[in-house]
C-alpha cells in the first residue's frame, strides 16, 4: 500500500516535470511579449521594452528560463519556509499572490455549482434508472443530451439576457398577469402528470393538484407583490418542515419506523420554537456564527433521534439530523428574505439585484445578510450555467451505474428475502451504485481548481481561468505556469485519492502493491 503510493507520487513528479517543461516552452513560443510595446508610439518606448525584458528575463532563452523558474518553484516544497517563488507577472505582481486571490474567486464560483450538480444529477439518475423507459426517463435523457450539447457561452449570454436583465425589469413592478400564471401552472401540471407514475387517474389527479397549487401561489405572489417583500413566515416554514420530515423519513428509514418519524417531527417543532428564539441573535450574524449554529442544529437533531431510541437508533438519528439541517436552512432562507428589500433599495444596487458580471458590488456597505445576498446575486447566473452543462454527465453516469446494479443477483436475493423496495433501493443498490461515482467526483474536484475559463470570461470573474487566459494572451509564462502547477498537482493527487478510495470502497478491486 505505502510502496504503491510512493511509486505513484514519484511517477507523478516525473510527469509533472516533463509536462511543465512543455507548457513553459509552448507559452514562451506562442508569441512576442513585447508586441504591444513595439506598436506603441510612446516616447520612452525603448525604456519600457528594456524594463519588461529585464522583468521577464527575456534575454535568457526560454529553456534556460524554465530551469531558473524551476529553481524558484522548487522552494515551494520546503514547508513553512515562505520562500515560495513562482516569478512575477507582466505587471510585476508576484504570482503566488495573484494565485491566492484567483483561487478564492474560483472556489466560490465552482464549489456551489459542483455540489448542486452532483446532488441533482445523482437524484435524477437514480429516479430515471428506477423508472427505465418511462416518459420521465425519456424526458430526462433528452434533457441530459440537450444540456450536454449546449455551448456554455451561449447559455451564459441567454441567462444574462433573461435571468438578469429580464428579471430586474420584472422586479420594478412584480405583477404577474393572469394568463402567465395560468400558462406556467398548466405547463408544470402537464410535466408532473407525464412524469408521475401510475395509472391515468393518478396522473390526472397529481397534474391537476399541481396546476391548482401553482396558480394559487402565483396569484398570491402577484397580489401581495411578494417579489418586492419576500418572506416565508412561521406558517409556511411549519408546513414545509412537516413535509420535509415525512420526505426525509421515507428515504432514510421508511414511514413504518415510527420512532424516526416522531423524532423528525419533534425536530420540526423545535425548529419553529427556535425560529422565534434566534431572530435577535441572527441580526448580529457573522459567517462563523452561522456555521456554529448549523453544527449545533444538526447535533440537536441527532440528539433528539438518540433520545427517541427505538429498535434502530441510527436511523432515527440520521432522519432527525437531516431534517434539522433542512429546517435550519429554511430559517436562514427566511432571514435572507427579510434582508432582501434593504438590499434591493441599497444605493449601490439601485433596484437591479441580479448582476451580470463580477463577483460582488464594489463598495457595498451592510451587515452579514446584505453582503451574503450580494454574493448570491452575483453567483446565481454562473452557477446555473455551470450546473446546466455539468448535470448531464452525472445523470447519465448514475443512471447506467444504477441500472447495472439493479440487474445484479444480490438485488434479486434482497427482493426474495421480502425486503421493502425502499431498503432494496436505498440500502442495497444506491450505496453500491455510488462507488464508481466516487472516482468521477474525485476527478471533477481535481479539475475544479482550473476554474471554468469560459464561464469566468463571460461573467468577468477574475479567477484561475482568467489568470490563465490573460497569461496566454500576453505571452506571459509565469501566471500560466502558476495555474498549470495548481491544476496539475490537484488533479494528480485527486486521481490517486480516487484510486485508493475505489479499492477501499470496493473490495473486489485490489491495487497492485
Amino acid at each position: 500500500m505505502l510502496s504503491y503510493v510512493v511509486r505513484r507520487l514519484a511517477t507523478a513528479a516525473l510527469i509533472l516535470l516533463g509536462a511543465s517543461f512543455l507548457v513553459y516552452l509552448l507559452t514562451a513560443s506562442s508569441g512576442d511579449p513585447l508586441e504591444d510595446l513595439r506598436a506603441s508610439n510612446a516616447p520612452n518606448r525603448q525604456q519600457l521594452m528594456d524594463a519588461r525584458s529585464q522583468l521577464l528575463d527575456l534575454d535568457t532563452p526560454a529553456p534556460l528560463r524554465y530551469f531558473k523558474w524551476l529553481g524558484g518553484a522548487a522552494q515551494c516544497l520546503v514547508p513553512f519556509a515562505g520562500t515560495c517563488d513562482l516569478g512575477k507577472s507582466i505587471t510585476g505582481q508576484p504570482i503566488t499572490e495573484a494565485l491566492g486571490i484567483a483561487l478564492v474567486q474560483t472556489l466560490t464560483l465552482v464549489t456551489g455549482a459542483t455540489v448542486l450538480a452532483i446532488l441533482i444529477g445523482i437524484t435524477l439518475g437514480v429516479v430515471t434508472a428506477l423508472r427505465q423507459y418511462s416518459a420521465l426517463d425519456y424526458g430526462v435523457t433528452f434533457m441530459a443530451f440537450l444540456f450536454f450539447s449546449l455551448p456554455i457561452f451561449w447559455v451564459a449570454v441567454l441567462l444574462k439576457e433573461f435571468g438578469a436583465i429580464g428579471f430586474n425589469n420584472f422586479l420594478r413592478n412584480p405583477v404577474i398577469p393572469l394568463p402567465v400564471s395560468l400558462g406556467t401552472a398548466a405547463v408544470l401540471g402537464i410535466v408532473v402528470a407525464v412524469a408521475a407514475g401510475g395509472g391515468i387517474k393518478r396522473r390526472l389527479i397529481s397534474g391537476g393538484a399541481v396546476f391548482v397549487a401553482v396558480t394559487a401561489v402565483m396569484i398570491y405572489f402577484s397580489a401581495t407583490l411578494w417579489f418586492k417583500n419576500p418572506g416565508l413566515g412561521p406558517v409556511v416554514i411549519g408546513i414545509a418542515g412537516v413535509g420535509m420530515a415525512f420526505a426525509v423519513t421515507t428515504l432514510v428509514s421508511g414511514l413504518k419506523n415510527r420512532k424516526a418519524l416522531q423524532s423528525s417531527l419533534i425536530v420540526v417543532g423545535l425548529g419553529l420554537i427556535a425560529y422565534f428564539a434566534v431572530q435577535p441573535l441572527l441580526d448580529q450574524a457573522t459567517g462563523l456564527m452561522i456555521f456554529l449554529l448549523a453544527v449545533a442544529t444538526v447535533l440537536i437533531g441527532v440528539g433528539v433521534g438518540y433520545l427517541m431510541g427505538g429498535y434502530d437508533r441510527g436511523q432515527s438519528m440520521r432522519a432527525a439530523g437531516i431534517t434539522a439541517f433542512l429546517m435550519g436552512g429554511l430559517v436562514a432562507l427566511d432571514r435572507f428574505m427579510q434582508a432582501w428589500p434593504a438590499y434591493v433599495s441599497n444605493s449601490r444596487v439601485r433596484g437591479r439585484p441580479i448582476a451580470t458580471i463580477g463577483a460582488g458590488t464594489p463598495n457595498l456597505q451592510g451587515d452579514y445578510w446584505i453582503l451574503s445576498i450580494d454574493t448570491f446575486t452575483h453567483l446565481i447566473l454562473p452557477t446555473i450555467a455551470l450546473i446546466l452543462v455539468s448535470l448531464a454527465s452525472y445523470t447519465r453516469f448514475t443512471r447506467s451505474s444504477m441500472l447495472e446494479i439493479m440487474n445484479m443477483d444480490y438485488i434479486r436475493t434482497a427482493r426474495a428475502k421480502g425486503l421493502s423496495e425502499r431498503s432494496v433501493v436505498m440500502g442495497h443498490a444506491f450505496r453500491n451504485a455510488l462507488i464508481p461515482l466516487a472516482t468521477i467526483v474525485a476527478f471533477d474536484i481535481g479539475a475544479l481548481i482550473g476554474g471554468a475559463v469560459i464561464t469566468e470570461t463571460v461573467f468577468s470573474v477574475r479567477g484561475m481561468g482568467f489568470l490563465f487566459l490573460d497569461g496566454i494572451t500576453h505571452v506571459d509564462p509565469n501566471p500560466v505556469m502558476g495555474v498549470f502547477l495548481c491544476v496539475a498537482v490537484t488533479a494528480m493527487v485527486f486521481n490517486l485519492i480516487a484510486d485508493l478510495a475505489y479499492s477501499a470502497l470496493d473490495p473486489r478491486v485490489r491495487i497492485k502493491a
Binding site: I15, S30, Q132, L146, S149, F153, A416, E421, V453, V480
Partner: protein, 354 residues
C-alpha cells in the same frame, strides 16, 4: 417441492436467454455486423439524429459551396448587400416563407444564412478531422500499450499522462499564434494562413486522443487474455495477425462509440475556442466566432445570436444521439433490465413457489 412447473422452465429459459447478449431469438443466425446494424436502426433517437445531421451536412455544404464549387445560395459569407427591412429575418413558419434573407443580416449587411452555413461547414470539418486523428492515434497507442505490455506500455502510458494534463487552451493559443503570424515566410505559416481550420483541427486532434487511448488499452488488456487469442497464438499467428484479425474487430465497438463522443465534444471545443478568440479567426467565420461577435447586439439584433447557437446545439445533439444509438447497438448490456418486469417476475415466482 415437486417437479418444476412448465412456467418456471420457460422463465428460466428466458432468464438464460437474457443473460447472454446476442442470443435473443430475433438475432439468431446473424453476424455481429448485422446484429449491430439491426439494433442501430431500431433505435429511434439515433435515426432521428442521423437524419438531422445528414440534413445539416447537405445544406451546409451545398448552399454556400465548398472548396471553390459554387453553391445554390445567392450570397456568400463575405458579401455585403444593402440591408433589407433593417436585417430582420425573412423566414417565417406561418405563412411558410423563405424570403430574401431567411436568417436576417448583420449590421453591415452580410447574409446570416450564408455565414451560419459557412460556420457549420467549418465546425463539421474540424469535428471530422479531430475524430479521425484522435481515433487513429488513440487506437494505435492504446492497442500497442495494451497488447505488448512491458516497457512499451510504460512509455506510451506515461506519454499519455503528460499530454492529458497539458491544457488544450494553451495549445490552441499556440496554433492561433502560428497561423496569424503572416510576416513569417515559413511553409507552415503559409499553409496555416490559408487553411486555418484544418491546422486547428489537426492540432486539436493531436491532443484529444488520450482518453481514447486509455479506453482502447483497457479493452486490449481484457481481450488478450481470452481463449481465442491463446488459440490463435498456439496455431502460430503473428502478433500483427492477432491484433488486426482477432482483437481489433472485438474492440472496434468501444472505438467507434468513443470517437463519436469525442467528435461531439470537439464541436463544443472548437466553438468555445473561437469564442475566446484563439480558434478560427476573422475574416473566416465559425459558429463560435459568430456568437462572440454578436453577443453585444443581443437586445437590438437577437437573431444574430440565436441562429448560430441553435446550429451548434443541433449538430452536437444529433452527434450525441448517434453516439448513444451506437453504444446501445455495440453494448446491449443496458437493454436487458426492466424494473417492472423484474419485479413482476420475482413476485410471480414467489407466488408459484408457495
Amino acid at each position: 417441492m415437486s417437479q418444476p412447473t412448465q412456467e418456471e422452465v420457460i422463465l428460466a429459459q428466458q432468464a438464460q436467454h437474457e443473460t447472454v447478449p446476442g442470443t435473443e431469438p430475433e438475432f439468431q443466425g446473424l453476424s455481429q455486423g448485422q446484429i449491430v446494424r439491426k439494433r442501430f436502426f431500431g433505435h429511434t433517437g439515433a435515426l432521428v439524429g442521423l437524419a438531422a445531421f445528414a440534413l445539416i451536412f447537405i445544406v451546409a455544404f451545398t448552399s454556400v459551396g465548398f472548396a471553390g464549387i459554387p453553391g445554390w445560395w445567392k450570397y456568400n459569407h463575405e458579401q455585403i448587400t444593402p440591408l433589407v427591412n433593417d436585417g430582420v429575418p425573412s423566414a417565417s413558419l406561418w405563412p411558410l416563407a423563405w424570403g430574401e434573407h431567411p436568417f436576417g443580416q448583420d449590421r453591415v449587411g452580410r447574409d446570416l444564412f450564408a455565414m451560419t452555413m459557412r460556420g457549420a461547414q467549418q465546425s463539421i470539418i474540424i469535428m471530422v478531422i479531430i475524430g479521425a486523428i484522435a481515433g487513429l492515434i488513440g487506437a494505435v497507442v492504446g492497442g500497442l500499450a495494451g497488447y505488448f505490455r512491458g516497457w512499451v506500455e510504460a512509455i506510451l502510458m506515461r506519454l499519455t499522462d503528460v499530454i492529458i494534463i497539458i491544457p488544450v487552451l494553451l495549445l490552441a493559443a499556440v496554433v492561433a499564434q502560428m497561423a496569424s503570424r503572416r510576416d513569417a515566410d515559413g511553409w507552415f505559416s503559409a499553409f496555416a494562413a490559408s487553411n486555418g481550420v484544418v491546422v486547428l483541427g489537426i492540432f486539436l486532434g493531436l491532443v484529444s486522443w488520450v482518453g481514447l487511448a486509455r479506453l482502447v488499452r483497457g479493452e486490449f488488456l481484457t481481450l488478450r487474455e481470452r481463449e481465442f487469442v491463446d488459440a490463435a497464438r498456439i496455431s502460430g499467428a503473428s502478433n500483427a495477425r492477432i491484433i488486426f484479425k482477432h482483437i481489433l474487430p472485438n474492440a472496434v465497438g468501444v472505438l467507434i462509440v468513443n470517437v463519436t463522443l469525442t467528435m461531439s465534444a470537439a464541436i463544443l471545443l472548437e466553438t468555445a475556442l473561437s469564442y475566446l478568440g484563439v480558434g478560427v479567426k476573422s475574416p473566416d467565420t465559425s459558429l463560435g466566432l459568430l456568437i462572440s461577435q454578436n453577443q453585444e447586439a443581443f437586445s437590438t439584433r437577437p437573431w444574430l445570436f440565436w441562429f448560430p447557437g441553435l446550429f451548434i446545439v443541433a449538430i452536437c445533439l444529433s452527434i450525441n444521439f448517434i453516439g448513444d444509438g451506437l453504444r446501445d447497438a455495440f453494448d446491449p448490456r443496458q437493454k436487458k433490465f426492466r424494473a417492472k418486469k423484474a419485479q413482476e417476475t420475482t413476485r410471480h415466482s414467489s407466488e408459484t413457489a408457495q
